[in-house]
């Protein structure tokens, strides 16, 4: 499916080019190396004037691009913070297609940017190819590991944020609200593609539920075994309705766009959903979304720029960002905060502290 999408994007691009009557003048590769793809707002004109810092940090988005309300935007927010707080010179290149990754990374490297962030595991190969050619500059890859001395690999302990979601679900399912039924101590988990990454979310969530409600049942369901499982809201809806029929009155999802089907079901049947990656309650007003597990790519990016400025760049290392590093967290209770008793927020704060202090170790795999 992903390759289909790429083909489709290329096809559409080709159509556009022909439609514009440009003939053979504009080639696709020419486009990618054009600085026109850079974000004008992220141009470092201020920093050049101020000269407060000599850090020149840049990033390359994956095909999702800026405006994805997810990790590309979040990474950009981290750069923006580095710009305003440290006076760093910044630049952002957006990738229209995976073929742009190498070009964009090379272009930034040739313009002496360092560190250069590659946002997303899709860029793993491109970083492994470009980084050795510029050994004096620093690179960082998000959500993946590249073993080169000048590359920092930034990954996240998603299970820790999911644990907090589990604490909320385990306690709230015992509350008597218009969305929850205290008689049935069942909660649900909707995963996207069944694999090690999403299993981390499941493991943390289940452990969190069990920590506050040992006789609670967690129903686990995955949308599929192909990347399409992240993109099938109709399947997400069917599965969520099923889990709700089986008694789950709170369902947490880690399933990308498939989760839109969960929100549909939650809205229809009036039970609670828990979102993922960004504050999905804020993005879907009116839908009973209790909270969301946040992935703070911005914090990881900012901290890495900071480390670079202090000559502590973790080149060649794999860094994991959890609760302690503010790499993951739970969003504020929004619209439905009135239904959440203070014992629940206290329990979340306590669990967060215990994980940060190392008193609680959150499993990475279910059933540990």
């Amino acid at each position: 499916m992903r390759t289909g999408k790429l083909l489709a994007a290329l096809f559409a691009l080709a159509l556009l080019i022909t439609a514009c009557g440009g003939g053979g003048e504009t080639s696709e590769t020419g486009d990618a190396s054009e600085p026109a793809t850079s974000e004008p707002a992220a141009d470092g004109s201020e920093a050049a004037v101020g000269g407060a810092s000599d850090v020149r940090a840049a990033m390359v988005t994956d095909v999702g691009g800026l405006g994805d309300q997810s990790f590309n935007d979040s990474a950009n927010a981290g750069l923006e913070r580095a710009k305003s707080e440290m006076g760093a010179d910044t630049n952002v290149l957006e990738s229209a297609a995976p073929t742009d990754y190498t070009n964009n990374l090379t272009q930034l490297a040739q313009n002496t940017f360092s560190p250069i962030f590659a946002v997303g595991f899709l860029m793993t190969d491109a970083v492994a190819e470009v980084a050795p050619q510029f050994p004096d500059q620093a690179f960082a890859i998000i959500d993946s590991v590249v073993e080169e001395p000048n590359v920092a690999s930034l990954t996240f302990r998603e299970q820790e944020g999911s644990y907090l979601a589990g604490v909320v679900a385990g306690l709230m399912t015992q509350e008597d609200t218009e969305f929850t039924n205290p008689d049935d101590k069942t909660v649900g988990f909707l995963g996207g593609l069944e694999g090690p990454l999403i299993k981390r979310f499941e493991a943390g969530y289940t452990a969190g539920v069990q920590s506050v409600c040992s006789d609670c049942e967690v129903l686990v369901e995955y949308a599929g075994t192909t990347p399409e499982a992240f993109n099938d809201p109709a399947a997400g809806q069917e599965i969520s309705l099923r889990l709700n029929d089986q008694g789950a009155d709170i369902i947490y999802h880690a399933s990308g766009a498939t989760g839109a089907g969960l929100f549909e079901a939650a809205n229809d049947r009036q039970f609670f959903a828990i979102g993922v990656d960004s504050d999905q309650a804020a993005l879907n007003p009116g839908v009973p979304i209790l909270t969301s597990v946040l992935k703070r790519v911005d914090n990881a990016v900012f901290r890495t720029v900071e480390a670079y400025a202090n000559d502590e760049f973790p080149g060649g290392e794999v860094q994991t960002f959890g609760l302690a590093e503010e790499g993951v967290d739970l969003a504020e209770f929004g619209e439905f905060a009135d239904l959440v008793p203070s014992e629940v927020t206290d329990a979340v704060d306590q669990a967060r502290q215990e994980i940060i202090d190392g008193n609680v170790e959150v499993p990475e795999e279910p059933g540990q």
Binding site: M1, G4, K5, L7, A8, A9, L10, F11, A12, L13, L15, G64, G65, G67, D68, Q69, S70, G224, T225, E228, N231, D232, P233, A234, A235, Q237, E238, I239, L241, R242, D245, A257, A260, G261, E264, N284, V287
Partner: protein, 303 residues
């Protein structure tokens, strides 16, 4: 809700988009034009409906936009494969790719980012009095207006195709276009109508997905349903009633996967291949072979 009712409700949810698109395929293929672009027509209309409803504030206007865009994509296929005699399979593939890439691009243009669109007000449920109170099957009459439209379109399509003069001519164009031409009737015109209808019906299937079942558009949300609809059309032997039955069967199979509640579990992969296995069975001919319209896939060139 008891398990049987839940299973039937799930079957209808899964089958409706398939049935709309299968009816769409029917009018195209009966006129002699293969339409594997159903998937793309569903997808672009799913987007168009949500965009129309979002910007106009009216779900009905959104539906009309979806129909119009479905028609437009049908006509693109018609121009390529009828007027320009392009390979019908390739034109269909092009439409699928265009819709997949195009909706991604349009999401960014209209809504500022890819992924999932803002939510719209979907078509609500309209329970039919008395009928919806019947145990178990009552759930079939507690649906949105689009589902009732489907119930009406199945017999209507059968009547149009097999009892009306237009239907006779449309089928003739799909079997022996030369004969229709000799009788002084325009083959091109009939085929354009067939393919245009096809686009609109597939568009209804897409609009049902994004505007009734769900209430937002997600990139790639049709997830191969257009191809399963094609399988339903073939298994239903290019007959509206048969295609509807096949769509229900495939929808039921999906419901079993999602609900699991029939006492034993079936591997999901097995159910996913089920429609295609049935197509092969139908094509090799258990209980009489499934034979496509004779002129299907063949461009007609006036002598």
């Amino acid at each position: 809700m008891d398990e049987l009712t839940a299973l039937l409700a799930s079957t209808i949810r899964n089958a409706t988009p398939l049935a709309f698109a299968a009816l769409g395929g029917l009018f195209s293929e009966r006129s002699g034009v293969i339409n594997i672009g159903l998937e793309g027509m569903m997808l672009i209309s799913a987007f168009a409906g949500v965009a129309g409803a979002h910007f106009s504030g009216s779900t009905i206007v959104g539906l009309l936009v979806a129909l119009l865009v479905g028609l437009l994509f049908g006509l693109v296929h018609a121009v390529a494969s009828i007027t320009f005699e392009a390979d019908q399979i390739i034109s269909g593939i092009a439409i699928n790719l265009l819709a997949l890439g195009g909706t991604g691009l349009l999401m960014v243009i209209f809504f500022g980012s890819g992924g999932t669109s803002p939510r719209i007000e979907p078509f609500g449920r309209l329970p039919i009095p008395v009928l919806s109170d019947i145990p178990v099957i009552g759930v079939a009459f507690d649906q949105s207006g689009l589902v009732y439209l489907l119930y009406a379109l199945v017999p209507l399509s059968w009547y149009v195709l097999f009892r009306s003069r237009f239907g006779l001519r449309l089928r003739a164009v799909g079997e022996v276009p030369e004969a229709v031409d000799t009788a002084g009737i325009s083959v091109f015109r009939l085929r354009y109508i067939g393919v245009g209808l096809s686009g609109m019906l597939a568009g209804l299937g897409g609009a049902f997905l994004s505007m009734s079942l769900l209430s937002a558009f997600t990139e790639g949300m049709t997830g191969g349903r257009g191809f399963i609809a094609l399988a339903a059309l073939i298994f239903g032997r290019w007959n509206p009633v048969g295609a509807f039955g096949a769509a229900l069967l495939f929808g039921f199979a999906q419901a079993i996967v999602f609900r699991g509640g029939i006492g034993f579990t079936i591997p999901r992969e097995f159910i996913e291949m089920f429609p295609y296995v049935l197509v092969i069975v139908a094509l090799v001919g258990f209980g009489g072979r499934a034979v496509p319209p004779a002129a299907s896939g063949r461009p007609y060139r006036k002598e």
